[in-house]
Symmetry: C2
């Protein structure tokens, strides 16, 4: 089903490198990881990769449309492999945990503003802010 990472990288016109494969693998394991988390995970298989290279790889994969970058307020940028289905995110205001939220409509823009002051809207990005299950119980 899911195309092999190697194939999707190649299909995007990019060279297949161990670094890129490792980054995609890291994002599979941590679906909303920030650059630092990706770096740490990738170092398990490639101890010498630099953080800067991780930045470059993430930028290349984002540019190619293989991953998506999200930038929640107050958090460093995060990346995810789930793309193409215009889903949204719930973010915990206490711990920053990110949870995918299916979009009812499915395709962008899932919402049409009543009046957008002449803007031509391409996508609507919805961020739900609240408390994750863990932070609800460990209250206060």
């Amino acid at each position: 089903m899911t195309p092999e990472p190697e194939d999707s990288i190649r299909a995007a016109g990019l060279r297949v490198t161990t670094q890129r494969l490792a980054v995609l693998e890291a994002l599979t394991e941590f679906p909303h990881a920030d650059t630092d988390t990706v770096h740490q995970r990738v170092r398990l298989s490639q101890p010498d990769i630099t953080l800067q290279s991780v930045y470059v790889v993430l930028a290349a994969l984002t540019e190619a449309g293989l991953i998506r970058r999200i930038e929640p307020a107050g958090s460093p940028a995060r990346y995810e492999r789930r793309i193409g289905d215009n889903h949204h995110h719930a973010i915990c205001t206490r711990c920053g945990a990110v949870q995918d939220v299916d979009c009812a409509v499915g395709e962008a823009p899932c919402l049409e503003p009543s009046e957008a002051g002449g803007f031509v809207i391409q996508t609507a990005e919805v961020t739900y802010w609240g408390l994750c299950p863990a932070c609800q119980s460990s209250t206060r």
Copy 2:
């Protein structure tokens, strides 16, 4: 109608300072200004105010709920005086212009996710991405 800035600052339990008044005035003139823009505007009346002080003032006013901070992806933080009506924003993908978009519902959360993975949702933040009128015409 609109309460005097001085009164709302006092009502929030904060001291009324010329810096805070000037920052609120700047945000009236530039409704989605970033810190730098606020600083430049404030310097017209207070040439010696530092950028750091503007940061502190903006943080204090945000904390007090007198202004709201928005952090669009790829842009420095912006601030606005329009608060309490849970409206949303349309942002130009080319020039970064921000436009208020009324919320159909009015109160947060204006959207309820069908399934939020156990999250207790407090607010829903909607960002519309598109082209502003100016960038539509100056195409390509």
